[in-house]
Amino acid sequence: MRRVIIGLSAAGVSAVETLREGDPQSEIVAIADESLIYSRPLLSYYLATKLEMPRLLYRPSDFFERNRLTTVFTRATRIDPQNQRVYLENGGVESYDQLLIATGARPRFPRAAGLEKKGVFGLRRIEDVHGMFERLPSVKRAVILGAGLVGLKAAAALREHDVEVTILVGSRHVLSQMLDEPSARVYEEIFRRHGVSIVTGVKPAAVLGNGEVSGVETADGQVFPCDLVVVGKGVDPNMELVSDTRINTEYGIVVDKYCETSVPNVFAAGDVAQAPDIIRGETWINALWPCAVEQGRIAALNMLGREISYRGSMRMNSVQFFNLPVISAGLAVLTPGPLGARPGEHDETLEERPSESVYRKVFLKDDTIVGFVQIGEVGTAGLLKVLMERRLNIAGIKSNLLSPRLNLGFLLPLLEENRDRFDEVEFQELMDSVGV
């Protein structure tokens, strides 16, 4: 058995470890165009100089030997599923019995002129940060295109270097894929207080400059002078290598609950995969670290023949900006958009704002949670998540859902009533052992 994995990040690493644990013998080959295993979400901490390079490396340095992994550090350019082969940029060809595509995603660049100029960066790979470091000593002003999670992380990180930062946002407010307008306003306030200007409702038309960035011009003719541009507007899946194959794609590579593509023995996981989504009831890309790790493991287990089906992914993210934490999960955005809820997907919201920087909101549909946002106090997020993920009817406990003191003890009777949805041994044992 020869198993080939393309891409060695969250999904790929998790798959390698699962495969090696489940099958000590057979060959595992990883094709990757990055030779370092590092955490992408930590890149903004690295850019902010809050941590040093070694802390980005989330696996011990003997990862390759320990997992007896054969590595080929180059790009895969094409897959031939008929003959079970992967073609490589370096001219090589790898044949496989089973293939996992874990090629992730890349920053989505807007349609604007001049994006190839020196000083325009995404924030996705370690080279991006090193490129910015090189430039930073001569940077006074930066413009961030897009106010997605990565855009805001970049903005906050650049403030640590005393760079003047302006964020240009196409939508009406920041984090439009993660927060609704009132929640987003809390953050806009904080960013402004930390010296970041936010301009909403503008589209970039061109990056100005003579080879080197000197500014950004918007579609309505405003000019923002700057020496650095960071694009932070969301991501596109790296799925070009399956074009011209029978592997089914839509927004990403479509996989079933076994993380298998439409072609047998070809699996996909992580940011490149469009996998079943629990809340939406259809396949969706949730380009998030936990989803990539879990899908990598599910794919690997099925490659091992275990027939483990995936409960499905769910959008859920937790971040802090200027020490104010926010967690947003499920359909937490009312404004229509690729990630927002569509009409009819919510029928009730519970909401509370006990203080300036504490905000909680739960979105319901037919008395089940379909999304929530917590700002400031996030301690009960895990419980809301489990109620949402297991689709429990919360009609009887609505008045307690926003409580910062919500706890597992309180929820246990409800969980017990729905015991069939908690098949994990940890839940079963807990319910058995309490003796009530």
């Binding site: 989330y58 493991r297 895990g382 489990v386 706890n407 309180f410 052992s433």
Partner: protein
């Protein structure tokens, strides 16, 4: 794999386990010092009323001492963006030097077992307690006066279940 369980029929919500846990994870590991110097101490398991409104004080009712289930696979480990949350043998442990306080794990844990303090704060199954202090394996189990808290492996929990009179 070892987990800690609480028998709801025996727990009297005295919070002794919380105190013992907080002390065990303080830097002095000494209750007198914790009280007199006000050094940082915070429990990694919490006593909770079963089915009771979090706003209503407990009168009668059933209580449980709850903490990490040391899941496998563990949702918190999957979610951790820094590699801080990891498995050590059967235990799920947070390397606080590596933790960046992003609270991905808090959001992921279905057992409400992680407290967002400066870093992720959770049960670590008292590593090296016997070696360090010569005392019993787990601080909370040792402290429980009714023997409601006990340990059990995956298979033995159901056997232990019938007449639970605190066999530990």
């Amino acid at each position: 794999m070892e987990r800690l369980y609480c028998d709801g029929r025996l727990c009297v919500a005295c919070h002794a386990c919380e105190v013992a846990c907080a002390v065990e994870h303080s830097s002095s590991r000494n209750i007198l010092s914790v009280i007199s110097t006000g050094e940082f101490a915070f429990p990694r398991r919490l006593v909770q009323g079963v089915g009771e409104s979090p706003y209503r004080p407990r009168v009668g009712g059933v209580a449980l001492s709850l903490g990490c289930q040391h899941c496998s696979p563990a949702a918190c480990v999957d979610a951790c963006i820094s590699g801080a949350m990891h498995k050590e043998g059967g235990a799920t442990v947070c390397d606080t030097e590596q933790c960046v306080g992003c609270w991905m794990c808090v959001m992921a844990c279905p057992f409400d077992a992680i407290t967002p303090l400066k870093t992720a704060w959770k049960c670590d199954l008292c590593p090296n307690r016997v070696e360090l202090s010569g005392r019993a394996r787990y601080a909370c189990v040792e402290a429980c006066p009714t023997e409601a808290l006990r340990t059990a492996g995956c298979e033995s929990v159901t056997d232990n279940r019938q007449p639970v009179t605190g066999n530990r």
